[in-house]
Symmetry: C2
Amino acid sequence: MDTLSSILYEGIINNFSALAAMDQPPNRLSEQLLEAIEERIVTGEYPPGARLDEVELAEAFGVSRTPIREALIRLGSIHIIEKMPRRGWAIAPASPRRLVEMFEFMAELEALCGGFAARRATPFQLQKLLAAHEACRGVKDPDEYYRLNEIFHVALYEASGNEFLIEQTLEMQRRARPYRRLQLRVPERIASSFAEHEEIVRTILANNAELAAEKLRQHVMVQGERFANLVKSVEKLSAADVKRPA
Amino acid sequence: MDTLSSILYEGIINNFSALAAMDQPPNRLSEQLLEAIEERIVTGEYPPGARLDEVELAEAFGVSRTPIREALIRLGSIHIIEKMPRRGWAIAPASPRRLVEMFEFMAELEALCGGFAARRATPFQLQKLLAAHEACRGVKDPDEYYRLNEIFHVALYEASGNEFLIEQTLEMQRRARPYRRLQLRVPERIASSFAEHEEIVRTILANNAELAAEKLRQHVMVQGERFANLVKSVEKLSAADVKRPA
DNA sequence: ATTCCAATTTATGTATACAGAAGACATTAA
DNA sequence: TTAATGTCTTCTGTATACATAAATTGGAAT
């Protein structure tokens, strides 16, 4: 399906000599497995409630249980899956409620970044933010805009000047990304998104922390516009695919 | 030292037959190792910056690398330790700046919880919050107050009603714990802390989200009162204890 | 003497083997 | 027919063995 899967598939064929050798800078078969499994969870290939059997997964990916275990443990640590006693791992149901809470939290983190940025951003950071914003101007292609949009947001985080906050927000962004994928990226949204960015940048440049925070909260949550859709789709997905919650 | 260590020690002596058999309901040697290692980190036995070598730990606890690895991976997932490429695991070193950023972030999370609690807490949650607050009344012993204080704050998180936020804040609390150790807990602080709690609870009960958030920000950051001390001591500590940053 | 290359050692990730406990299934007895 | 007990199979956790990549050290050459 994606490059990751094909790499892994390649690995199976080559009995992993290729994969093991391929390991560029970032080693970690388990890392790739983590992402692969996360991907499958998010796409619904492994639906909420489904069991994740170590042996099955190991066979499916053509690896031993060890890296699978590692990946599962890490997925468990970020609460994407849960371990039931003697029942193995299961995908934590991504309830609509949880998604809302997650995005609400994300919105607050971004608001925090915006507020800090308005108060403390250095000229250099503001310059980068502005540049990232300008790079979005006139972009029509949704995928391209999506990419540049992420860069803009990262620039915003960095303008907060709090390394710790930046790390945390980046991680949240990563965690939320799988679910964002479900969102329809309609072209009409691009214009309004860009307009909101514009306002946000202005507000930050004007050192209006409160307003910047509020605008960012709105901006992230406006995804709630299509959020209803997202939640609905997940709801259907859950209702349809769950075999038995048992 | 603690029961956990002694259990593990017992296990070493008995070549783990005892331990393996002891495994009441919650098996998991790795779980115990996780707690044991975290304990040692929190108490400062493994200070910030220290390396955690898999084989050393395995030998120290008399177990194989596997459960140690599992524990380390989990500690890494919650950012209590970090894995440096080819340098093994290490307890995240705490520069004064990073500590400030961390507590600032923590303060914002708590403020968030407080704000949400003021807006949405259920009567039951408020009741629990109030109970946790009352439990602190009149407590003189710093350690005991510290313990009850944590319970109060957890009750606050839970009153936010956002599961995701709760998880995140609890994780941050856990993450910050190793560094809190450095704080001097002076008895005089107890009274003012309690008074602040009192105000916070009142404000939340009055549904004043903005003010509750602000008071919590202050409350957590007042640790900044002794924060200067903390930072200073860490600064000295860093200067003195670090062998070579390499 | 300094630098570069090679070789040996160490560390880290993965595979596999093993053990113990829990659950399931079947058989027997009441 | 149902319940209980015993066995067998499966599953999960831990240990160990192995392979590879990186780092360090030593030697040689410039």
